[in-house]
Amino acid sequence: MNSSRRSPPPAVEFATIALLAGLLALVCASFFSLTIRWGELFGADARRSALEFLSGFAPPELAGSFLAGIAKGILETLSMSALGTGIAFLLGIALALPASGRFGAAARLGIRLVLNILRSIPELVWAVILLIAAGLGPFAGTLALAVHTTGVLGRLFADALENLPTDAEDTLRINGAKPLAAFFYAALPQILPQLMSYTLYRWENNIRAAAILGVVGAGGLGQMLKYHLSLFQMQQAASVIIAMLLMITLVDGISFWLRRRLTANPSAW
């Protein structure tokens, strides 16, 4: 029995075991409290109705006029994302100035708090709130994207500004340039490539977000999807979903390709 000597297994801390037990308890509690209707999900009835539902999708609607509508929806989605990101870029820079401590510590804390709040409320929730002020349609979606992205970009921009060595700006200031001029001609050109890469990355995210914002009535492809689904026009809904998938895949592909080109050959900037 004892001929094969094994080294003892590594000791496991009590805290780790407690933590894992806690996680397990969380998972169990989640499943028990949700009363998921497994029966309805996997019963014969459910399978039949799900199949019926899915078979309603085929074939996707491909009539010319409908495809033109989808193209308009895609254009609307892209415009929403581009405008929202553009507004957020400008507001982000404007808020990054106080958030990087250029107007004192109190302003820095205050603006950072505001940015955190803007950031932690998702685009879709902003869209629902902004529908009241801006009405149904892509404008509310654009504003929602702008507000959320301002929070994200403002924070990133402020961090970039804080990490920037201040030599160039100091030189201009010592030689009599005004603070704003010093910022625009010394600090901004140095961090602009970084700001652009953050902004492009968020734009990519926002295209994906803009595609679904319409589900609450804020324009773009999502609004078409919601409309056709609620009328049970499954074939049209299928076309919209496929268009959404194609658009997202295309954007993913382009950004992957661009990023690989830019990182593979940094001198190509």
């Binding site: 949700l34 308009k72 892209l78 405008l83 929730v125 009241i132 002020a133 404008f139 997202i248």
Partner: protein
């Protein structure tokens, strides 16, 4: 400033102004069609009727709703949101782990032996990858919309939507992490006749465990945010309550829910940072 010698400086203080103005003109020309397509009409915001509606709604924000009964309701809704995220992520793990095993190239025996995969292995691997791509390309909100149609309103749709989307995301990233981590131990095990499962558990998993765990907790955090959002299409939790209060224009309830939501996200952030430090 005004007395610069003309020979050194051009008359305009900004030497690059021509380029800047041209860029601005081109940008405006590109922007115009977008403004039209996006129905960008900021003056709507300052329309008297819309200002009045917004004013009424925002005025109700303070004080936030805080009756005991309402707070209990909120507590239940918040728990439901967390539970949807947790249950969904657990199901996603059940789907993602087998798919990861299929998709990870560094666990391929035939590739190790001959430098290339057997045809059958390559086909299975590629199919698994396409499945993962399909699962994660459809946004979770769209899955939720479809499931609400199939299983009806309530948390079941949210759990299923998270399970499908996140199994795609987790599977893809797990495979990437396993392929990019230190492969020496895995390779030795496979070369010396260890099974693929053994190679995973004793080679690949220990080498990549901390990265896998931290990505999973990060996704849990995202799932919480996602489950709130899916509530807006009827998938239960805090989002569904927010949608109802929004439709009744009950500003005080909405403001309480926004506060709860911000706190919830902050807490999830803290917990996931703690878990990452502890288990990573």
């Amino acid at each position: 400033m005004n007395k610069m010698p003309a020979a050194v400086f051009s008359r305009h203080p900004d030497p690059a102004w021509r380029g800047r103005v041209t860029a601005m003109v081109i940008a405006t020309a590109l922007l115009w069609p977008m403004l039209v397509a996006g129905e960008f009409k900021p003056w709507i915001l300052f329309d008297a009727k819309s200002l009045a509606a917004t004013g009424r709604f925002l005025a109700a924000f303070f004080p936030p709703a805080h009756s005991g009964e309402f707070l209990w309701l909120m507590l239940a809704a918040t728990w439901q949101t967390v539970a949807i995220a947790t249950a969904g992520l657990t199901l996603a793990l059940l789907g993602a782990i087998p798919l990861t095993l299929l998709a990870t190239a560094s666990l391929s025996v035939s590739q190790l032996e001959s430098g290339r995969m057997r045809l059958a292995g390559a086909v299975v691997r590629q199919t698994a990858r396409w499945l993962l791509v399909l699962l994660r390309s459809v946004p979770e909100l769209v899955w939720a919309l479809l499931f609400v149609r199939i299983v009806g309103l309530g948390p079941t749709a949210g759990v299923l939507a998270i399970a499908l989307t996140y199994s795609g995301m987790l599977g893809k990233v797990y495979a990437e992490i396993l392929e990019s981590s230190e492969s020496h131990a895995t390779e030795s095990l496979l070369r010396n006749g260890g099974g693929r499962l053994a190679a995973l558990f004793y080679g690949a998993w220990p080498a990549a465990a901390s990265e896998l765990v931290s990505y999973t907790t990060f996704r849990w955090e995202c799932a919480i945010r996602g489950s709130v959002i899916m509530g807006f299409v009827g998938a239960g939790g805090l989002g569904q309550r927010m949608d109802e209060s929004m439709k009744m224009m009950a500003g005080d309830e909405v403001s309480t829910m926004l506060i709860i939501f911000v706190l919830l996200v902050a807490c999830a952030d803290l917990v996931s940072t703690f878990l990452r430090r502890r288990l990573g």
